[in-house]
Amino acid sequence: MIKQWGKALSVLAIISLVTAGRAEAKSGIVIDGSTTVGPLAKSFAAYFDKKYKVPVTVSESGSGNGAKSLINKSCDIASMSRSMKPQELTAAKSNGVNPVSSIVALDGLAIVVHPSNPVRSLTKAQLADIYTAKITNWSKVGGPNAQIVVIQRESNSGTQESFKELVVGKETPVTRSAETQASNGAVKNRVSLTRGAIGFIGLGFTDSSVKKVAVNNVMPSSATVKNGSYPLSRPLFFVTNGQPTGLIKQFVDFPKTSDGKLIIKELGFVGKY
């Protein structure tokens, strides 16, 4: 009899343990969205995993997908490199989702070219002309006599939308012969391998394999992005459904802590706080 009771008790204990584990797993955070915010979100996730033992899942599928996931309630935080569009806001409302954005960091859109390209600086107008194919040769902007290979991002990219808004203008279409790549990394890869290429990537993604170009004679850097003198900068967002609470609030507010600031700086982004 006593043995049976012992068995029942141990079964109960196991069940409670399993359900407890499940409850804990459910308290994890799911993040979806921008490939630009991706490295930040991943580093934050690693930090949270280590310090609080909270599993954080980070997917990078583009800002548009992040917004979509939030609207469909399939993620807790949408990481976005642009603000929500009006259509997305109405879609969210009709789905009972109330998007609340908080700024993670600031990011400069670095214009990058092949390291062998002698061009050092471009004006915003020149950039717009290049991306609308009014300028198709590097010699027109002080470079060698070589055709320009224009590289842009896919239409679900927040970086693409920011670039269009900041440089080309929302209503003006980018040239049809522009090559399209799926992520910041892919753009960097293509630019680093192609002599005539020009592309734009988040400041945090730049390294020695590509050459940054000054825009309106201002080089992109943490300092110029923070003081606003670099013309192509934008905020990056974490968007939540309603005011964040508990762990999610802690995660969203992480950029304000000293550890958060350190991570932002290490990854080449610019802290807002």
């Binding site: 979509k68 896919e154 679900n156 939308e161 399209t180 790549q181 799926a182």
Partner: protein, 387 residues
């Protein structure tokens, strides 16, 4: 009842087929057949369902935007305001890489199949065929990675020399063969042995010089070409042709093997050489199977997504001039893959449905070409069987 009685009953019923037993047999037969029928028809139903659901989501696009923009405009700006859904350039891009890969894969594949089935000894073929079929087992993302990281920079940095060497390697054997045959034919009817030899030698020399000049000048012209971007239609065509090759080689080799020993030996017995046997007997006899192989291979190229998504450059324009394989293109499959994430119903209806319109177009193209190839194969069979 004792156990002996039961045993006797069982034994007797094993021999005498009672009405009940017969009924049972009939039922089990029907059950078995209908299960098989169900499974078989399930496959057909799946195809119909895919067609139905793709079409159901494609139709709203044409209701919203009409037909003419989709098929005649090259303005592909799905995310802009106002949006443009002109897919002509994208349709063209799909056709371009498919034709490009077919141009490479079909001659290579059929040649390889002939070599495997009629030239190489059996012991070698045993090892070579599985190796070629291994190509089919490589995941397409690995092909895409290769195209993006290795082939694209190669084309950019050494594009001219690569084109030149390819030209030389492909054309020189054919030219050599042509020169020999032409000289042989020209001098075949000359009676005097001495005169014939001299004429033969001069004709070899003259044609050889012309061929060398052709090789050299075209080669130099090709060497001068600078490839601006390595992620272009040529890159994708090359990779797609390698993906289509195993299908073409394997299926057409099977078709050549199926021709059978009798026809081959009959041809030899009539005094035909091996070349004559292959060209005049085996190839015509196997042509329907080879055609099926080619269609299968082309469908593989048309439907491939990952490689074109990674390596075609994805710029939605018609190259200038239209046959310029050194420019980036965008294909239907890559567009569906790339834009699906953004284009949910919530973010603009036409943008979502246009992708289904593209999917429907792909489905229709493959259905039509399958249908045509089926018809050709049937007709071929009738001709061969003498009806």
């Amino acid at each position: 009842m004792s156990s002996e009685d039961t045993a006797r009953q069982v034994r007797s019923s094993a021999f005498v087929v009672s009405a009940r037993k017969r009924k049972l047999q009939k039922i089990s037969k029907m059950a078995g057949e209908s299960t098989l029928l169900l499974i078989a028809s399930f496959v057909a139903v799946v195809v119909l369902f895919i067609f139905f659901f793709v079409a159901r989501d494609a139709v709203p696009f044409f209701q919203i935007r009409g037909f003419s923009e989709f098929f005649t405009s090259t303005n592909w700006y799905p995310a802009d305001d106002p949006p443009g859904f002109g897919s002509l350039a994208i349709i063209y891009g799909s056709l371009m890489v498919t034709v490009g890969s077919a141009l490479i894969a079909i001659p290579m594949g059929i040649t390889a199949a002939i070599c495997l089935s009629d030239v190489l000894p059996f012991s070698v073929r045993q090892y070579v065929k599985p190796i070629i079929e291994m190509l089919a087992a490589i995941p397409s993302v690995a092909f895409g990675f290769f195209a993006l990281v290795i082939l694209a920079p190669l084309l950019q940095n050494f594009g001219g020399p690569i084109l030149m060497w390819t030209w030389w390697l492909i054309v020189s054997p054919f030219l050599l063969l042509a020169i020999i045959v032409v000289s042989e034919l020209l001098t075949a009817n000359i009676a005097s042995e001495k005169k014939r030899k001299i004429l033969h030698a001069t004709s070899l020399g003259v044609f050889g010089l012309i061929a060398l000049a052709l090789l050299f000048f075209v080669g130099r012209k090709l060497q001068g070409i600078e490839i601006l971007t390595g992620t272009n239609a040529l890159n994708v065509s090359i990779i797609l042709s390698f993906m289509a090759l195993p299908t073409i080689v394997s299926v057409s080799e099977d078709a050549l093997q199926a021709v059978g020993r009798e026809l081959r030996e009959g041809s030899y017995a009539l005094g035909a050489t091996r070349a004559e046997t292959i060209v005049k007997t085996i190839l015509p006899a196997a042509s329907s199977g080879i055609l099926a192989a080619v269609i299968l291979g082309i469908m593989r190229s048309l439907g491939e997504t990952m490689v074109v998504w990674m390596a075609s450059g994805n710029s939605s324009h018609i190259p200038d001039p239209w046959f310029n394989y050194l420019e980036s293109v965008r294909t239907l499959t890559a567009t569906i893959a790339g834009d699906m994430g953004e284009a949910d119903q919530v973010t603009g209806s036409a943008r979502f449905h246009v992708l289904f319109a593209m999917g429907l177009l792909l489905l229709v193209i493959s259905f039509v070409s399958n249908f045509i190839s089926e018809r050709i194969i049937v007709r071929q069979r009738k001709v061969l069987s003498g009806q």
